[in-house]
Amino acid sequence: MLPDIDLRIDNMLKALEQVVIPALPSGERLARDQVNLVIGHLRMMKDQWRFAVKFEAGSLENMMRLGDELADQVDPIYRQSLADALSVARNTDSDDQKALATAIHDLGSVIDRIILGEDGRLALAPAAFAAIIDYGHRQARRERSWFAATGLDPDRAELPTIAQTMSAAS
């Protein structure tokens, strides 16, 4: 691919840093702040783009694992909808970003219903609670690594890089 994505991002960064920012009046603080954030987003996207589909596929895999763990714990009224959502998720094209996002949305919606338990009328089994916590820990850590470059994560120093996270998943 010519020009490739990395080259185009590099060109955009140079234009913003060396042409646009110097042209902005110093009093235009909001505009300057926003350009700096755009630069930050672009730098982050440069590290992320090649892994984006794989990352989303990993998110769906994590959620399917949670669904599988919940399957034996849930009230019978949820069993069929959970089985259906898991089946669709398993058959989702792992190279199709949009399909992966849709599967995450649909499976996640069923899991949400299970967690709420008809607004507390149905108990959430301790094993189900533990499975959700375990999933939450796995997924949050992946996402924290994915976005560590924002500098907002106070414990980012302990996180693996995106490349390390993705190689561990493969």
């Binding site: 009093g27 235009e28 603080r29 909001l30 505009a31 300057r32 702040d33 926003q34 954030l37 755009v38 930050g40 987003h41 959620m63 949670l66 996002a101 995450i104 949305h105 996640g108 919606s109 899991i111 949400d112 219903r113 967690i115 709420l116 338990g117 008809e118 607004d119 507390g120 009328r121 959430l124 609670f129 959700i132 916590i133 999933y135 939450g136 820990h137 997924q139 949050a140 850590r141 992946r142 996402e143 924290r144 994915w146 976005f147 924002t150 500098g151 907002l152 994560d153 106070p154 414990d155």
Partner: protein, 398 residues
Amino acid sequence: MTPSGAAAPLVEIGKSDDVGAWDRGEIEPRIKTILDRTVRQRATGPYRPKSDAEVIAMLGRFFAHKGYREVAVTQVSRMSGGASKEQFAFTFRHAGDTEGERLVLRMDPLEAIAQTCRGREAEVQRLMADHLPIAPVRFHDADGDLLGQPAVILGFVAGVTEPTALRGKGVSGMGGQLGEFAAKLAPQYIHALATTHRFDVANTTFDYFSVPRANSRQAAIWQVNWWSRVWWDSLVEPVPMVTLAERWLRENAPVCDTPVLVHSDLRMGNFMFEEPSGDFTAVLDWELAHIGDLHEDLAWTTQKIFGAWRDDGVFLVSGLLPRDEFFRLYEEASGNRIDPVRLHYYEVLNAYKCAVMDLGQAMRAAKEGNNHQEVVLTWLGSAGAVFLDHIVTLIGDR
């Protein structure tokens, strides 16, 4: 609407006559109005940032309606900072004041990371102006009847939110450093928190606030219902940890014996000071203020994301002082005693609130194009997993 579609309150069998933990109708009335309005107006976007000329025209009409003659709005300057309101500094002159006053317009875009009420913001700032350094409220338009968008107009206050020498390290008050100013700022910060919590709620008649019942779970449930309503109304992608946190918060809601005024966002970035004295010039950003449990403020400000680390590796609450010292000095200044169980509950609630704002409301506003700086919303939204991981730690070990 929640996934279970349970809009109607449920009656809890075998519970006391306290509020039902799952009664979604238990929400502060003015908050319900604001959230209803958010949903109603969502589809009218996208929002386009206002130009200086549009701001001049809006303010001109507003002041004329207020009865001012020979109005001149000049030196309009868009301000940076904040993740929610569109802000402009301007000079207001009229027949009775030809020299003019420098003012700040804080105006709602169509949607922001937090949907709040300018009437409440104006009211609480007016009430607290006798107690703390606060930007004076000159005007407000709670529902945008005159300006076209809800707004508050404040007197301009000079100062900085981070030392000039360290400027630019953070976004929206997060990730910043206060450096040598921390020692000067810490006592004023403790004083501001304690003074807020000592405000005489019982003998005040509010226009825009309701007071939850004492010795009841109502204070906690109002907050859970506020933020869970935001989550389900703005949902972009399901997040099981957010839903689990909601259930935990309902099933563990504590009684609040004495509701107090809670600032709700008093941390680094939301107090302004002058250099080189370090004297507070204004406590900022009262938009999330409500009457509730004092532990909510303490748990909010002790979140890691709002703090900083000293060179020796010690974590500083709000970039100011170590956690234990913060609690000790707060108890001394306020006379309040900190209950570890309630503190823990509000740590979970605050992490939940932050996750809802970052992964729910901010993402929806950005997706709809209903804000004036979506690039900030998606930047802040990327911190959502930090709060999810914090929830895991807080409720996973119990």
